[in-house]
Structures are given as structure tokens and as C-alpha cells.
């Protein structure tokens, strides 16, 4: 949890940077999540007031989008593509193996806080599936050997 004394100035800084931007709420939420790793509950009233929204409205937007989290993720975020082109290349079987290896289901985080597993619907790597993204880095033709090599090297 960020110290609430640190939180407000940082959020205000982000809000100031977006003043005058048309439709600024998504860019603001992205920036807050980039800064803290998630959107802290304490940030929401500040954002809502800045955007002349009720807290409920801001919360409604926050929770509509899959990307935004209201709690911190693990140290690494692994996204596996579940969409059709990856399914055609055996993604379902691979995902079952990976979930077993990690001992978590979709949206879960390993007990050591190392990895959060998330589904994603298409990374645009559809001729090179099954595809994945680890901490923003794209991976094509994923198999268990590649998974072991990538995940084995993570702290």
C-alpha cells in the first residue's frame, strides 16, 4: 500500500498533468495505475472531484475495464491469449498445463506473490500462437519449455 501521505501529491501531480485534456479519465486512470501498480481506493475521490464526477461514477468507469486493478498484482504479470487463433494452436491444453504448474487459476497470484496470471483476448500475434505477454513483453509460439525458461528466470 502506498503511504497516503505520498499518495495525494502524486495523484494531484497526475491530475495537473491532464488538466484541459478532453475525456481525461482513462488517461488519468492509466497514469495512476502506472504510478502505483493499481488504482488505490484513496485516489478515487481525488480523481472524481477533479473530473467533476461522483465517486460512484468514477468507480463505475474504473471497474468497467479489465485492465484496471483495485489491488496490487504479483511482481510479474503473465497474460495468456485465450482467443480463437491461439486456441487453434492448442492454447487451451497449454493453459491448463501452465495453471497446474503455477498452482493458480485465471486472475490468481502465486502464493509467493511472484506471478499474477491473466487471460487476454488477442495480442495481435495470431499467426504465431499460442501467444503471451510477460510484463509487457510479447512472446509467440509459447510452449511449456519456453514458459519454463521465461518464468524460471523471474524473481
Amino acid at each position: 500500500m502506498p503511504d497516503s501521505a505520498d499518495l495525494e501529491p502524486r495523484v494531484r501531480e497526475i491530475l495537473d498533468a491532464h488538466s484541459g485534456v478532453e475525456g481525461a479519465l482513462l488517461p488519468i486512470l492509466h497514469a495512476v495505475q502506472d504510478a502505483f501498480g493499481y488504482v488505490p481506493e484513496e485516489a478515487l475521490p481525488l480523481i472524481a472531484a477533479d473530473q467533476t464526477l461522483s465517486k460512484a461514477e468514477a468507480y463505475g468507469v474504473l471497474t468497467f475495464y479489465h485492465d484496471f486493478r483495485t489491488r496490487p498484482a504479483g511482481r510479474h504479470v503473465l497474460k495468456l491469449c485465450r482467443a480463437e487463433a491461439c486456441k487453434a494452436m492448442g492454447a487451451d491444453r497449454l493453459h491448463t498445463q501452465i495453471r497446474t504448474k503455477l498452482g493458480i487459476d485465471w486472475h490468481g497470484t502465486t502464493a509467493d506473490g511472484r506471478i499474477t496470471l491473466e487471460p487476454v483476448f488477442c495480442l495481435g500475434l495470431c499467426a504465431n500462437g499460442p501467444s503471451a505477454m510477460i510484463d509487457g513483453r510479447v512472446v509467440g509460439r509459447l510452449d511449456t519449455a519456453k514458459f519454463d525458461a521465461i518464468v524460471g528466470g523471474l524473481e
Binding site: G23, L26, P27, V138
Partner: protein, 506 residues
Amino acid sequence: MMKVWIPRDAAARALGAEEVVAALRAEARRRGADLTLVRNGSRGMLWLEPLAEVEIDGIRHAFGPMTPETVGQLFDGGALALGPTEDLPWMKAQTRLTFARVGVIDPLSFAEFRSHGGLAGLTRALAMDGAAVVAEVTASGLRGRGGAGFPTGIKWKTVHDAAGARKYIVCNADEGDSATFADRMIMEGDPFTLIEGMVIAGLAVGATTGFIYSRSEYPDANAAMAEALQIARDEGLIGPSVLGSGRAFDLDLRIGAGAYVCGEETALLNSLEGKRGVVRAKPPLPALQGFMGRPTVVNNVISLASVPAILAQGAAAYAALGIGRSKGTIPLQIAGNVRRGGLFEAAFGLSLGQIVNEIGGGTASGRPVKAVQVGGPLGAYLTPGQFDLPFGYEEYAGQDALIGHAGLTVFDDSTDMLEMARFAMEFCAIESCGKCTPCRIGAVRGVETLDRIARGDADAISLLTDLCATMKAGSLCALGGFTPYPVLSALTHFPGDFLRAREAAE
């Protein structure tokens, strides 16, 4: 000096392009070679990525797929040498208009963009009045490449004729359909073309502000696009005076947050305004009341990126390509279980069989093709029995199918079509914006009904077709309205996959 190109495209990176680059630099140092490395876009031959090119006697030769261990072949030749890139069958068979520069130039070199024909379309447009530009785009026959196929020129004319001091150009780069990556490849491989197309659109309809709404799943494309926008601003392509014309157009990049439905234009506009990405009822049309209630052109990346070539070469040249009411070229994206997957730009009219078997080379697994889903997750499954079908908007509509954003996913005979139908409903349930009942509730009921069928309850099949009819007729947008396409086509073409469970139960 040795000149080498290795793509910065995400597909190349996902297959180890950065590791190949590091190995190449090390090898060049070891050999004392003077290496000039260009990070280009992808040529679209994605089964060969990372594809390196080496200039030999002024001609680019292709090598691939590269690995860090094989970079020596770029110096000495070897089994990965494929010959001159432009002579490869995949390249020779294409008509590259929208993708003419992708893979050829350094995507962030404004000088290369210009020397390869960039700005020719905009230069012509600057000498015309807005109505004439709109007329040119209308005459080209260009239709919305995002999937709906609405004539681009008509949309532009509506915005051009609309009253309003502030109008907007919104580029829909929320390319969420599985099997599609053409938008990504333009943004990573030739971003200035998209910017040029948007500037032309702005001048044509009288808009001075534009947005590119991209997706968070595309970090590489977004980085390239952001950098290109900065360069475009520095070069005067966008800003208060476009190419010194005194006419303003500026452009901002916005990133979505993982909601598939935001690829629907009205949900996208809500998202862009900072709201929940729920669909709006139409009318009012976005052309009249779009972003912030003002007249707005919402076009797909490929529609906008095709405009510069249309203006540069003339509407007639573009309209001469294609079949029926499907004019010009379409960037086919061949994906899934396919031997040669990638991006192939051709005039409309190729048969599905040509695309899958001749261009794609059949399945990657070597097993027979069972089905091809055309048009993304909301597109129908087609069978090898339909391989004569020519690629065009009306031709596919006539088969209860759609071309969508022209992505094709190939499946082999190990695929369970009941599971694919279930997935279509599950995806709709996850991604539904919740605004309309047929989609929000229907998709959940669809999953339950398919589970009943999977347990051997054949009576549930009529319930499923009934539910699909309701979703098709009653949904506000294509998410709920088109999810029945994959479901019903799977049921129609592969009834055995839906009855197998019943036989097992009996």
C-alpha cells in the same frame, strides 16, 4: 559496409528479434564488419519471423526464420537464405497499396517515408477543396475496413455537411478481433501513413482534432505511434499549419483498457470521453453527434491508411481493383493453425481456398482443414465445401458470413466445434458492455444451453437457435448481434460435433 534490416514488429520481437539483433551486433564486432542495422516493419511473412534482410549488390535478400545461433549465415549465406525478398512468391503475388512501405522503410524515418511516396496523397488533397476530397474517396469505393463495410466517402460527406464549429476524426485502432493484426502492423511498420490519412480526413471534413484510440494489448504499436506523432509534429505534418498550409490539424493517441466492446464505434466514443465503454443507440449517428456530441468521423486504421494511396493514385485506379461492390485491396490476415501465416494484401476476389491452401499452405499441423473462421470472433465458421467463395462483402453476407476486418483463423480436424461455439458465447458474456439484455443475458444463457447440449440434451439445440435469433435481432451492436454467426455456423456445418455427446450419453 553491411546493411541489414531486422523488424521491430511485435510478431518478430515475440519470436526473438531482439536476441537476433544482439547476436548480429556481437558477430559483426567479432568479424570487424561495419554494420548498418535498420529496424523495419514486418514484410508480413510471419512464419519466417524474425526475417532478416541483407543488402547484396543493392538488392535486399531475405533470411529466415533467424535465431541467435544462425546469424553467421547473414555473412556467409546458408540454408536460411531465401533469395531476393521481392522475388519471393508471397511478395510477388500481392498488390501492396496500403502496405506498400511496411517492411520496406524504417517506420520512424520521416525522410524514408517521403522518399518512398509518403505525402503524395496529402499534397494533392491540400490543393483540393474538402468536398472534392470527399468525392474522390467516395469514387474510390473504399468501404469501412473495420468490418461494417460502410462507404467511407458517404460517412465523410455526412460530417463535411454537418453544421458545427468543432469536428473530430477518430481512428478506431482498437483491433480486438482474434486473427487480426493489420492495424498493429501499420502502426508499427508505417505510422506516418495513418497520420497522413487522418490529416487528409480532417482537411476533407473540416476537423482540426483527431484521436487514435489504440489498445493496451499493443505496447509496441503504441510506442511506435507515440514516437511517430512527435516526429510528425516536429516535421509540421500535424500542428497549427499542416505542411505550411496554414490549416490546422492535431492528433492525440489514446489507449483503451482491455474492453473488447470499445472496438464498437459508439462504445469507443464513450470510452474516449472518459466513460464506461457502453454502446450508444443509433441514431444519432456518430457522424452527426459523435465525440462530445459533435460531428465525428470514426474510421478503422486500414480505411484511413488507405486514403493516401487513393489520393495519390486517383480514385479510378483504386476502384479498378476488386469485385462487385468490394473495391480496391484488402489486407488479409491469415492466422491460427496455418503453415504460412501473415499479412497478404490483394484485390478483393480471392477464393477462400486460394487464401487458405495456396497462400497459407494449409494447416501448420499438416492435418486436414476443418473450418476457417473469417472476420474474427463474431465471424462465421466456413468449411472446405465453401472454398470457392470469393472474398467480398456481399459474397460473404450471402453465405450468412462476414469478412469483418479480414482476419482468417484456420482450424484443423482436431477442433471441437461445440467447444468453439461455447467459447463464442463465453467471450460475449465476458465482454458484453451490459447495455442491452439480449447480449448481457443471452450470452450467459448461451453458455448454459451449450453445456446442456454437451451433456447430451439434444432438445436444447432448438433453444439455442431460438436464443441466437433473439440475440441477432435484438442486440444493440455487433457483439451480441453477431455472436450467433460463429455459434450457428458451427451448428449448421458441424452438427456431428453437437450430437456426439448425445450419442455418448445414450
